[in-house]
Every structure is written in C-alpha cells, then in structure tokens.
Amino acid sequence: MKRVLHLVRPNAAPAGVADRDWVVYLQPTRLVAGGAPHTAPFPPGPVDHDQVVALVFAADLVVTW
C-alpha cells in the first residue's frame, strides 16, 4: 500500500484524499488526523519543517496542492 502525503497550500483544497493518506496543511503547518489507524510517524497536530521533510521522505508519493 502506497503511503501518500498531501501538502496543501493555504486556500487550496485537496481532492481524492484517502483515509489512509497523510495530509499536511500549511500556514500553520499541521498534520491532520486521517482514518484509523493513524499511520503517520507523527501524531496529528502542529508539525515543524523537519517533520514535514521526514514525512516527505517517508511517503511513497507526495502530492502538492
């Protein structure tokens, strides 16, 4: 199963997000909770730049919005 990370710019609206996907909204940067179980390496909530980068490396696919 591919781990998909969505990076969402302010005012952008991601589409086609699966429950298992990781979604990070920016400004403020926060990882939102997806479906259960939460599989991201960080808990939902604010994440810093380094954590976003870690997610980028951990994901199989990065989608930017």
Partner: protein, 135 residues
C-alpha cells in the same frame, strides 16, 4: 495538484513544475497546471540552461528558480530536482524565502547531499549550491 514519483530509498516527491517524469502533470484535478512561466527558462525545473559561465567541477550547473515558493515546498522541489540529476552534479537553487536558506541546506545535508555554498544574489534573493552525493 502534482504527483510525485515514489521511491524506494528515499521516496521521490514532486511539486508543480518540478522536473520529474510527471512534471507536466496532465491530471485534470491539478489546480496548478500550467503555472510555470514559459518565459523563464529556469523556473520550476532543472532543464533550463545554466546561467552564462556557470560550470561545476564535474559538469554544468543546473539551476532551479524557486522564487515565490515557500517552505517546505522549496525543499520538496529541491529534492525532486536533485533526484533528476546524476551523482556529482551541481544544482543551484534560487530562493527569495529567507528561511529556505537555512532549511534547504540543513535538510539536504541530513539527506547526505553536499552544500557547496549559500550566497546572496540581491536584497531578497539567495542562491544555494548543492552537489548531489547520494541517490
């Protein structure tokens, strides 16, 4: 929307205008398709010509212009651009987002790439030179 190509180690990523196999996203859901300014040969990709006189020790210097881009997209696109280059290649990343002058070198170093230098090109423009050392 732009999609990245996945990777084994490490995974790949992409973003609008990045130089991936997917670069020219045809995804109809992609709200950023076609944002790249066709007049700017360096905007959003590494396939543009190097600036005059720019050559690395191991080849020509590729340039990606990320002016107008913010973190963490600056690193995401830098990562993608580096993935397109061969080992030893030089990549110049031009940014106008000051935090990127710290974030890109730090993240690139942690990734295993070489930070050749960071220099100011103007009041609000910086160049970050990276050499690809790992895949």
């Amino acid at each position: 929307m732009t999609k990245s190509s996945p990777s084994s180690s490490p995974p790949t990523s992409s973003s609008p205008g990045d130089a991936t196999a997917d670069t020219s996203s045809t995804d109809p859901r992609d709200p950023t398709r076609g944002e790249t300014d066709p007049r700017d040969p360096t905007r959003g990709g590494v396939n543009g010509p190097a600036l005059p006189g720019q050559r690395g020790r191991e080849g020509p210097l590729s340039t990606i212009n990320l002016c107008g881009e913010l973190c963490p997209f600056t690193f995401v696109r830098t990562k993608l651009a580096l993935e397109e280059l061969p080992l030893g290649a030089l990549l110049r990343v031009i940014v106008d987002h000051e935090p990127a002058t710290r974030n890109i070198p730090r993240s690139a170093t942690e990734w295993g790439q070489e930070v050749v230098g960071v220099m100011s090109l103007g009041p609000r423009t910086w160049a970050i030179d990276l050499r690809k050392r790992v895949r």
